[in-house]
Amino acid sequence: MNDNINLWDFVTRHWEKLLEQTGQHIGLTFMSITLAIIVGVPTGILISRKRKLSSPILAFAGVLQTIPSLALLGLLIPLLGIGPKPAIAALFLYGLLPIIRNTYTGIANINPEIKEAARGLGMSDKQSLLKVELPLAMPVILAGIRIATIINVGVATLAAYIAAGGLGEFIFGGISLNNTTMMLAGAIPAAMLALLFDFLLSRFQKIRFKKMASIFFIMMAIVLLSGFYIIPSLKRSKLLAGFTPEFMGRSDGYIGLQQTYGLNVPTVVVNDAVMYKAIFEKKLDVVSGYGTDGRIDAYQLVSLEDDKKIFPPYYAAPIIKERTLERFPELEPVLNLLAGRINDSIMTSLNYQADYLHREPAVIARAFLESQNLYKPARPVGKGSIRIGSKVFDEQYILASIYTQLIRGYTNLNVLPKTGLGGTKICFDALMNDQIDFYPEYTGTGLTVMLHADTATVRRLAINKDTVYAYVKRAFKQRFQVEWLKPVGFNNTYAIMMRKEDAMRLGIRTISNLADYLNSQ
């Protein structure tokens, strides 16, 4: 995909998709907020009546909100699968705290004289609540709903990670593809949605209480009806594919599969952190992944052969600015110590230890270095320091740990890990802006994402791993003054994976087989 087009062109070209995503985004936000109101306001009222319950309930809702959004989504997958249901559930849980807390505070902070007057004039508890306390607390409650809505418009972008759609598809696609236009096409409507909702709710605050209640019920009805439209939209056909936002947008990804193989499969967008779990739990049947992923074995998956060679080689190598190499001449030989040392099967087993056995990257790195007789204890630290970056998956953490231990053992440089940078774009931007000094990158990513090589170039180069390496090395030097050091050895190319049992049963071995199977019926 080419991102040298302006935002307007992108929007006009993809407006249908954009509209769909915006609709999904609104649906997710509305559904979850409505549920949060239905549960949160009565809970708030309850704890304003039974003060003893207030601390445990507020603490519980507070804890829910501290769970990282992606982790919460991951926790919900075994229960609710993938798609809008876990996304709405997660957003609902996020919306609860502000709504409960503000309902409680709103009611608790009403002038006690006024509550006393309500009681003293002969209102029952219910009358006092409905006629006096709720109307007076309403501005505070609505402020809570506004906060929850704004939070949820933001968090709903993450729904794209679990196949629930929304504007996150463009945002995360854009981030991983280094495509600013695509990212903005998702981010700007998301920001506008937040502002719009905030504005509408602020208008709402001025309406009197009685009218408000009826409007709320009408809104709730609309939302629940729209909910019926959202939920079944994730219909299952023969096979369901889940691809990462990055894979969806890449010329050597989903687009390549469609163009070269004629693969035609219902597809949802999903984050790789939850993808393996989802396929293992049979929520998905086909996923995109990486050749050296440790979870292939762990989850009994099989990687389909790329018989038409659309995935370029992805050889990992550290990339570093020329200027940094000049400043620390001792660095290059140390980083190159690893060159050619890790082949595909070694990397897969290292990944397996991290992904499946959950061992610490530093432990895995040390064991590996010791087995290669490369390990040396850390030297005293001198003046200079090096910041190592990595993307957020285990292979990158392991490589970063290995490099950290090498630099500490062989030089006097101090090492500052800056690992866990969201995606290719974030990592590369960090490198270019001197926030990190180097990180491990893959030749195929360099070729397609940073250099935006067109399909013809990819085809021409992809025949040979060395030509791809040579091409990116030269181009990066010219364009970014960034040096590709020697490749580590393994090729972590894209892979299309299925469950082993399915593949055996359906006789699918290659991607062509899969395309034939899907087109056959």
Partner: protein, 324 residues
């Protein structure tokens, strides 16, 4: 009308109300007076069930208040709170109409009653749709009183209703309040810490101290026959003014040497038939040229034309007599 039988209320170890018993008859205006912390507000709140007593019973018209639903009980009792107790989200009209609404009066009747009360309490018609924050302190308190009177309850409880107002507003509202027929016929129990207010408004004063009832009696009884040193000390600072206020023209009548007794002679003179304090105020308000005011005996209807000197002589004679 109201009987309080051996009522006590303690909060933790503190006894806020300690074994108080008393009877209040129909139409009596009772002021609960005492320093802060004496338990007067708690006692008031016990009467309409806002506070449940630790022991003892309250009877209203012979019925134990615990035997009826609390909300219904409270709808039968007017309640005026100190301040800031108007519902800020209601208009003046809605605020006044709260209790009739709870009693499910029809809209027309509520409207009528609100209009009537606003007129009686000198609230301009245009305030009907104003909200409480648009009113001055005095106006808000009139609305507050109107709200308590809306359903015309026979019993009215007032918790320091004027204390949040400035001195001048307080005095004028108090005077209006006393003149209203709505008030005159009601049984009123009012909490106050203002001694002069209590003397002005109360037929009966209940002086409370540390939760105990120290003395119950007419204002003049408290002043001239204090039950103990606490009562005496409590009133001592205001003694002179109070004694002028509780001494009626009728009390002085036999000591007054004045001329008159003929209605025709009195034309043009200001007339007083209430208290010595009022009579003295008439002298203050008079211009220099007249030395006389007219006094009228409220029961017999006799007239006397007196000078300042006559008045003062009569008062000292009365004092001598009282102390003798």
């Amino acid at each position: 009308m109201v009987s309080i039988r051996q009522v006590s209320k303690s909060f933790g170890a503190n006894a806020a109300v300690d074994n108080v018993s008393l009877d209040i008859s129909d139409g009596e205006h009772v002021v609960l007076l005492g320093p802060s912390g004496s338990g007067k507000t708690t006692l008031l709140r016990i009467i309409n069930g806002l506070v449940t007593p630790s022991s003892g019973t309250i009877l209203i018209n012979g019925q134990d208040i615990r035997e009826q639903p609390q909300e219904e009980l409270r709808r039968q009792i007017g309640y005026v709170l100190q301040r800031n107790s108007l519902f800020p989200h209601y208009s003046v009209e809605e605020n006044i109409g709260v209790v009739p609404n709870l009693l499910k009066w029809n809209k027309q009747a509520i409207r009528q009653r609100v209009r009537e009360l606003m007129k009686k309490l000198h609230l301009p018609e245009k305030y009907r749709s104003s909200t409480p924050d648009e009113l001055s302190g005095g106006e808000a308190q009139r609305v507050n009183i109107a709200r308590a009177l809306a359903s015309d309850p026979p019993l009215l409880l007032m918790d320091e209703p004027f204390s949040a107002l400035d001195a001048i507003t307080r005095k004028s509202i108090r005077e209006e309040f006393m003149q209203l027929d709505e008030f005159r016929k009601k049984t009123i129990i009012m909490v106050s810490h203002d001694i002069q207010e209590a003397f002005e408004l109360g037929d009966t004063i209940l002086l409370l101290h540390d939760g105990k009832l120290v003395q119950k009696g007419r204002p003049s009884e408290l002043l001239f026959s204090p039950a103990n040193d606490f009562v005496k000390d409590f009133l001592s600072n205001d003694y002179l003014q109070l004694s002028l206020a509780v001494t009626s023209v009728a009390d002085l009548w036999n000591y007054l040497s004045g001329e008159g007794n003929n209605a025709e002679d009195l034309s043009g003179e200001p007339v007083c038939d209430t208290t010595l304090w009022k009579a003295m105020e008439l002298f203050r308000d008079k211009n220099e040229d007249g030395q006389f005011i007219a006094l009228r005996h409220e029961r017999t209807g006799e007239w006397k034309r007196v000078t300042w000197g006559n008045l003062m002589n009569a008062y000292s004679s009365l004092q001598c007599n009282n102390h003798r």
